[in-house]
């Protein structure tokens, strides 16, 4: 037994949990998320799989799988995701170090700014990047990045750097500095310290960041559609094209199955690799970040922060500039135009309606995601172990499943009684909540797990019933995490494009949908309006991020 904390050293599994959920409450906490998951995720995705292989389609699944074009798409999807992931890690690691290990004025702001692109709608990022290329003259002549693979890679890096900074930086910040210092004192060079001490400790975080980034890039939709244009085809965009433009559901379904199989394989392999890589010792000493002391350190931090922010924020600056550019001068004409419906029929409603739609939808989606994700988190941490495992794994799957497959599935599965939701105003928020639930759980589960069991025991001994313990101990401690989770769910909903593209009714577009439609029409004024819409959405998103940051301040790990 450990001398220091005898009360803690009892084998964990055998200890009674004093917020343990048993009986009907436990059943409810588990049943609601399970039902939600079954109806709005498993059933639709299952329908897609069934549709792919039921033999009713015009195309035989075998012919799709036998087509070399299919495998070219698979190959392209995979390697662009792999290269994007490597580039993102390379770009994110220095920034993770700068933010996690160094204290400098404006650090909180830098952390928030790095987060901005991640929570921004992919369509906005894509539009901003394309505009930036044309503004910098990189869309023709000797250098043409527009609609190139480079554009996709750059967009993916900008979008995902935050994942590396948050996940790896979160670990890095709680990695005990004294481990590195004692290695240095023992005579290790900086390089040896990195190889022998720092890197092995960061490995699990690197794995998990790389997995997340790869999944995002593998199933990326808005970025490829907007930045890559019709020339760049990934599984995700092809599923969408076959389903919506060619109405060839069978081919779309087969492609979705291929994608699903690859994602599941990847997730299983990666979680196995991650488990063997986990080294938890030496964490949680919560060392303070220090001000850079040597001139060299200062220069490093300044350069890293400067370059990172420039790459992330220049496209946004160009977006703002373009939204204000009218003819040869500047003005607010594009913003004023948002209140009018365009006669040429790009949208059936004034663009500003899309903002309202987005906000209403996001509030609804956030509410659903919080309830489902919150209950599921409690069930995962305090419920029976088997149910916990099923929920933990099950509700994380949407994170790796393509939004397009989900939207497509809901479209073809929930279209007949008793579940005919095609015209329901709640179908879009529900689909967005399915995407948002994993984010809620990622924020809440670690916090719930981190609540010291002895705090619950102390409360129980002082006379608090299990329900009271949850209310008095768990809830106040997890409240910050819930606020952050709400922020994430809200941002995810605002930017959700893949599923919404299938499900939003033409007269109720959300902002990303409206932007995509406006961008697809010729005419400088429509482009300007799209930019203005993007700026409005960006402002809302930034406010969201600032709220998340506030909520997370003082938390040890989290992203």
């Amino acid at each position: 037994m450990d001398e220091g904390r005898p009360a803690l050293s009892a084998p964990r599994a055998s200890r009674e949990q004093h917020a343990a959920l048993r009986g009907w409450r436990g059943a409810l906490a588990a049943a609601l998320p399970l039902a939600f998951f079954a109806v709005f995720f498993a059933y639709p995705v299952g329908s897609v799989i069934a549709r792919g292989f039921d033999g009713r389609g015009r195309v035989h699944p075998g012919s799709v799988l036998g087509d070399s074009a299919t495998w070219r798409i698979v190959w392209f999807t995979t390697w662009q995701a792999a290269v994007s992931t490597l580039l993102t890690l390379a770009a994110g690691l220095p920034a993770a170090w700068a933010v996690a290990r160094n204290d400098f004025r404006g650090r909180a702001l830098v952390r928030a700014l790095v987060m901005v692109p991640f929570v921004m709608p992919t369509v906005v990022i894509g539009a901003a990047l394309r505009t930036t290329f044309s503004r910098l003259g990189l869309d023709g002549g000797r250098v043409n990045l527009d609609q190139s693979i480079w554009a996709i890679l750059i967009a993916h890096v900008i979008f995902n750097v935050a994942v590396v900074v948050r996940v790896v930086g979160g670990y890095w910040a709680v990695l005990d500095v004294r481990l590195e210092e004692s290695a240095r004192v023992l005579g290790a060079t900086r390089r040896t310290v990195w190889r022998e001490v720092t890197f092995p400790h960061l490995k699990p975080a690197l794995w998990s960041a790389a997995t997340i980034v790869f999944l995002f890039c593998f199933t990326s939709f808005g970025v490829i559609l907007v930045v890559g244009g019709p020339r760049q085809a990934t599984l995700e965009t092809e599923i969408w094209r076959y389903a919506t433009q060619r109405t060839d559901f069978a081919t779309a379904a087969v492609l979705a199955c291929v994608q699903l199989a690859l994602v599941v394989t990847l997730v299983v392999a990666s979680s196995r690799a991650e488990r063997t890589a986990v080294q938890r010792f030496g964490l949680r000493q919560a060392p303070r970040a220090r001000r850079p002391r040597t001139a060299r350190d200062k220069a490093c931090v300044a350069a890293i922060v400067g370059v990172t922010l420039a790459v992330l924020l220049i496209p946004l600056a160009v977006l703002v500039e373009r939204s204000l550019s009218v003819g040869d001068g500047y003005g607010f004409a594009h913003y004023r135009a948002l209140t009018h419906r365009d006669e040429r029929g790009a949208l059936f409603v004034p663009p500003l309606d899309a903002v309202r739609n987005s906000l209403v939808t996001a509030v609804e989606a956030t509410g659903i995601a919080l309830v489902i994700g919150g209950l599921a988190s409690v069930a995962v941490v305090h419920g029976r172990r088997l149910i916990g495992r099923v929920l933990d794994a099950g509700l994380m799957v949407p994170l790796g499943t393509s939004a397009v497959t989900l939207g497509f599935g809901i479209l073809i599965a929930l279209d007949e009684p008793p579940l005919d939701l095609r015209t329901s105003p709640f179908i879009v928020p529900i689909a967005q909540a399915v995407v948002g639930v994993p984010f809620v759980m990622r924020a809440v589960v670690p916090m719930l797990r981190a609540v010291d069991e002895r705090l619950r025991e102390a409360a129980a001994v002082l006379g608090a019933s299990p329900d009271r313990v949850r209310r008095e101990i768990d809830l106040p401690i997890v409240r910050r995490a819930l606020a952050a989770a709400a922020g994430f769910a809200f941002a995810v909903s605002l930017g959700e494009f893949g599923a919404t593209a299938f499900l939003a009714r033409p007269d109720r577009p959300t902002v990303p949908i409206a932007m995509y439609r406006l961008l697809g029409q010729p005419g400088a004024s429509l482009r300007g309006q799209a930019m203005a819409l993007g700026v409005v959405l960006t402002l809302i998103t930034v406010m969201c991020v600032l709220l998340i940051e506030r909520a997370q301040r003082g938390q040890r790990v989290g992203w």
């Binding site: 037994m1 450990d2 001398e3 220091g4 904390r5 005898p6 009360a7 009892a10 084998p11 599994a13 055998s14 200890r15 009674e16 004093h18 010291d452 002895r454 705090l455 025991e457 102390a458 409360a459 129980a460 001994v461 002082l462 006379g463 608090a464 019933s465 299990p466 009271r468 008095e472 101990i473 106040p476 401690i477």
Partner: protein, 344 residues
Amino acid sequence: MPVHPGLEIDDLVVRYGGVTAVEGVTLAVAPGEIVAVIGPSGCGKSSLLRAVAGLEPLHRGAIRWAGADLATVAVHQREFGLMFQDHVLFPHRDVGENVAFGLRMQRSGGREQKVRVSEVLALVGLSGFERRRVDELSGGEAQRVALARALAPRPRLLMLDEPLGSLDRSLRERLAVDIRTTVRELGVAALHVTHDQDEAFTVADRVAVMRGGWIERADSPDALWRDPRTEFVARFLGHRDVLPVAVATRLGCPVGASPDDGLVLLPGALTVDPNGPIVARVIEARFGSVAVWAELAVDGIDAPMMVTASHGSPDAAAILALVPGATTTLNLRSELTSPVQLEP
């Protein structure tokens, strides 16, 4: 049979999976009595405490309060207080809210709570600390707040799990006295778990020594100290010199016990005496904070023997005069020895 008015632990067994942590412990604590459970780490003392609190399921046996079995009484209904090793104060609440927590659970009124909180804070010497944040407290203050929090709801039984384990020595000694005074004043039954025998002796009326899941011996500190009865208890209490009876007899210490048994030499049993019968070679002599002491090698005994004397005594002067490597003679005072059962 009359009903025991306080806590009764009856043939208690606690298991984690296949591992038995507590193996048939029987122990009673009367109201107003402070019982300390001591033992090396891993002996099951914390598990015993957790089982009494209701935090561990019982494998066998019973825990009763005033004759009533607590098997079906949940943790939060037992009206026991528990003070953890590193205080486990609620980080999201201030000192006053921490102390008031148990009172709120009892649904006592706001005014009453306020009065009681300031009362117990005064009791532990922290008057006016109500609005302090718990992360601003020093280690000793946090332990006092934890004690106040455990005492505030007027528990029937106060349990202390290594309450001073994480504090430095001087603070530990002072707080141990404070805990005893406070608990005595309230006349509450208390069960105190620690691995430190000094702390146990300071705080408790009765001390139970645990070993491998069961209680080897339970008695008053004085009786335990002077008559540990087994080599394990003697050594755990800090007695260094335990000799087989045969050796003791050879040293000129006549004992009535059977020759298989041993003899524990209490501090002061050996003295430096020019006329003593035991010849010893001096290894070293040292000046300690409580006493002076010397280690000496005696023929026929493997471990070095210890001679101690309190500062200022004539014996102390004799010890400090010893020169390492020199030979001296010792006397053994048989009234400061006690027969013990040797470890196999």
